[in-house]
Assembly symmetry: none
DNA sequence: GTGGTCTAGACCACC
DNA sequence: GTGGTCTAGACCACA
């Protein structure tokens, strides 16, 4: 109901983000069964095809998995291949550091920056 | 030369980002004349039209200006170029944190990770 | 159909003016769906790319907006479309007065001329 | 010296406008001899080629005329073929009225509008 | 079918 | 040689 969609980013991605958030916040717990594609589609007010694509994509990312006839479930953390995760982690970090370096920041600078941001966030949360 | 283009974001936007970076890092100074559209196009390995579009967009953003027959120039230090570096920094950090989050890491985790990497590097350097 | 293009001003700008006019006159109402890029292109007898550029520019100006797969629409009555008619009126008057001036006629002369024409027309109608 | 040139309209046209203005204001009287191309060029701070083009264009428009070796002169009003002027006048008026009509204004409306503008101008001048 | 992006190649006005 | 415009035709993601 409270769905607001932007016009310059694909619908299915916005849906993916919404679902990711529900999982991140624990709204949908690991192992939990998801509503059917059709139900989710009407809830979001989109075409079932679009919802289907969003879920398929999330499955590809390892956040969901499907049991053929039983439905879709939120993945357990372990189900994402640990090796793959490590690999992606490194590529993300490398990309970030390369970018920072292009702006003239060293690894040390980057670490300090994030440290500061983290502490700020903590204070806000209190 | 060292141009690597991703496949899921428009070429002309990636070019824009590259140029923004050169300006942000001072590689291209305010008032400086840019190579011609055609030269930039061959350097990047894209069609002149694509380069043209990227430059036109940057002009619209106020980062460049064109003297019709003399060439294109980096805008003089108005507030526009001033904030550029800060803006790019934020976009890099946001992208990194989004990626980390998709792997299940929080800002705090990311900060801790970089901290560790930084300390390792320091020890190595001694 | 009734498209006449001048040779010394870019096609895409003339197209923009034509569309602005249709919107200003209410021929195309706010919220209304436009024909597709391709349709408009053949109607105007120009390349789809050129029409695309014109529409993209109008979108940048806020007169149109695009739903990526659904089509393009005239913007809802924000202040933007409101001022359009007034703006076009002024540009037409300015163009006329500039032309008259180039022939040696002042604003006063132009006003007198139209006044005379108007009275003639009135007499004819009686 | 006090020359300011815009970047998005051809230099030679801006120069033409400047000269037209000098003629319109009587700064340069009909029959008067103009300075040489070179002098005008340095005065305006442009390339002699550009000044040459501006003057040639004004000649084509009938505002100036050249006596082969004696130099260039401001045209007498009568030297512009009267018939041609009438023809242009009509085309300008027609274009204006067409434009006004497209916005929903009649000839009468247009006449009234200019009348009002003229009176405003007069009051300002007092 | 919709908008958006890209290439290849041409032509133009301007200086 | 410079930026700018235009065409023709292709391909893509999205719904």
């Amino acid at each position: 109901m409270g769905w607001k969609f932007s016009d310059d980013v694909p619908l299915y991605q916005q849906i993916m983000d919404g679902i990711k958030q529900r999982i991140a916040t624990g709204d949908w717990a690991p192992g939990q069964k998801l509503p059917s594609v059709r139900e989710l589609a009407v809830e979001a007010g989109v075409n079932p095809n679009t919802m289907q694509k969003a879920l398929a994509e999330l499955e590809r990312e390892g956040l969901l998995y499907a049991k053929r006839t039983a439905g879709r479930f939120v993945a357990e953390r372990d189900e994402i291949t640990e090796g793959l995760q490590e690999e992606m982690l490194q590529s993300y970090v490398k990309e970030f550091l390369d970018n920072m370096e292009s702006l003239g920041y060293s690894l040390k600078d980057a670490a300090a920056l994030l440290q500061r941001m983290s502490q700020q966030e903590e204070r806000k949360g209190e």
